[in-house]
Symmetry: C2
Subunit: 246 residues, 2 copies
C-alpha cells in the first residue's frame, strides 16, 4: 500500500466511521479493509465485520500499513477502494468552480448531504475528491454523493441548460432572503480566493448573501452552507423533531 | 520575539491584512510592527505606515523575526500587541461552550462580524483566542469583537439572566425555521465533539437545525453561521446591493 497520489486508481478511508460509510454506500468498489490489531475494543468493528462478510470483502490485520498511511492519527481501520465515476441526476445541483482546499471540500460534502443535496459538479482545475484528506473531512459523506468533474462551466451548461442557475457573487443582483427557488436548479459558487467572475452575471439569477462591510466575504463552505439552508427551507421547515431525546 | 504560548501577555498577527485590522481596531494595544524587507511592493504597506505614524507605533524591518514566527508562510508583516480584556455589551451574544479548534474559532469570529454580532462569550476550558492561529483564521475579525471568558455557563447566566436564551441542540424543542427572535438574546452552541448536554434544555428556548439523518450533525462553525444568518435575517433582508459592480 502506498500513500495516495492525485489521480491514483484506488484510494482509502482513514478511520472506522468513514470506512463504515464506504462499506454501506459503495461496497462494490471496496477491495479490502485493513485494521489495526487494537481495533477489537472499537464498537464499530462488529459493523465492519458484518458488512465485509455480507459483501465478501477481505479484512486484513496489519498494523504497519495503518501506521504508514496514518502516522499521526489514532486510526483503527482503512477501507481500500477503487475510485469510481458517478452520474449526475437531473435534480438540484451544487456547482463549485475551482475549489482548492481539501478540508473545505470535505465540509461542503458533509453539509450537502445534511441538507439533502446529492449532486455535485466540480469545474476543473480543482481538488481531487478522492484524496484521503477530503474523504476524512467529509466524514464519509462523499460516498453518498454523485460528484462529477467538468473541464469548464460551458461544458456543464451545454448538458444541463434547461434549469434555473443561481450564481453566488458579491455583485449578485438579488438578496438571498428574497429568492423563491425554482426547481430543478444549480447553485454555483466560486473558489476560496476569487469567487465567480463577472461573466456569471449572464447565467440565471445572480445572488448575494448580505453581510456587513467589516468582512470582505464569507468563507466558501460557510456561504454554501447558508445557501443550502435557505434553498432547502421548504423541505425542512415543517420538521418537528430532529432527534428523540432518549 | 518568541513563538506565542497560551496565556502570554503579548501576541502577534501574521500577515499584512490582519495587521492592518489590528492597527485600525486596537491601536492602543500595539507595541510594534515587524516587516520583512521585501514588503515594499505590497500594496498594504503604505496603509501600515500611515497607521503606525498616526499612532506613534515603531516599524522594524527584521527578516529573521518574520521567518522565525512564520516559517512556512509568505508573511510580510507581524503586529505585536498586548493581549487585552474586553467588556460585553448588553446586545445579542454568541456563547460557545468549550470550543477547542483554533481554525473553527477564527472562522466563527469572522462569520459573527459578517452578520453584525460583536459580543462573544467563551465558556472555559477553551481555545486561547489570542493564539496567532486563531487570529489568522479570523482574518483580523477578532479585533472587532468583545470576547470574554467565563469559568462556567452559570457564572455568565447570573450576570445576564434578563434576556432570551437559545441553546442549539440536536434534541432541541423548536425548529430554527419557526423561531422569531426576541432581543436581546444569547445563542448558545456546544463544542465540536459533544454539543450541549441535556441541562441546557432548561434554559430558554432550545433549537434544532433540521437536517437529514445521513449525517450526525452539522459542524460547529457551519451551525453557528446558519444560526446567525437566520437570527439576523430582519437586519439584512431589505439590503439591495452588497457591492457595487465596478
Amino acid at each position: 500500500m502506498k500513500l495516495y497520489k492525485k489521480g491514483d486508481a484506488s484510494s482509502y478511508t482513514l478511520g472506522v466511521f468513514p470506512t463504515i460509510e464506504l462499506l454501506k454506500q459503495r461496497p462494490q468498489n471496496v477491495k479490502r479493509v485493513v485494521v489495526h490489531s487494537s481495533i477489537e475494543q472499537n464498537k464499530g468493528y462488529p459493523v465492519i465485520q458484518t458488512l465485509c462478510q455480507k459483501h465478501h470483502i477481505p479484512i486484513d490485520i496489519h498494523d504497519r500499513t495503518i501506521e504508514k498511511l496514518s502516522p499521526k492519527n489514532n486510526c483503527y481501520a482503512i477501507g481500500v477502494f477503487e475510485t469510481y465515476q458517478s452520474c449526475l441526476q437531473n435534480d438540484n445541483h451544487v456547482v463549485l468552480e475551482h475549489p482548492m482546499d481539501m478540508g473545505n471540500m470535505g465540509t461542503m460534502m458533509r453539509t450537502m448531504l445534511g441538507f439533502g443535496y446529492k449532486n455535485l459538479v466540480i469545474i476543473k482545475p480543482a481538488v481531487d475528491i478522492f484524496d484521503p484528506k477530503v474523504i476524512r473531512a467529509s466524514m464519509g459523506a462523499i460516498f453518498h454523493l454523485n460528484a462529477v468533474y467538468y473541464d469548464s462551466f460551458e461544458d456543464y451548461y451545454q448538458q444541463f441548460s434547461n434549469r434555473k442557475f443561481y450564481p453566488f457573487m458579491l455583485e449578485g443582483a438579488t438578496n438571498i432572503h428574497q429568492v423563491l427557488p425554482e426547481k430543478p436548479y444549480s447553485l454555483i459558487l466560486g473558489n476560496e480566493s476569487h469567487g465567480l467572475d463577472d461573466h456569471y452575471l449572464n447565467y440565471g439569477q445572480s445572488i448575494f448573501i448580505p453581510h456587513s462591510e467589516d468582512i470582505d466575504s464569507l468563507n466558501l463552505s460557510m456561504a454554501l452552507g447558508i445557501a443550502l439552508f435557505h434553498f432547502s427551507k421548504e423541505q425542512w421547515e415543517g420538521k418537528e423533531v430532529l432527534k428523540e431525546n432518549i
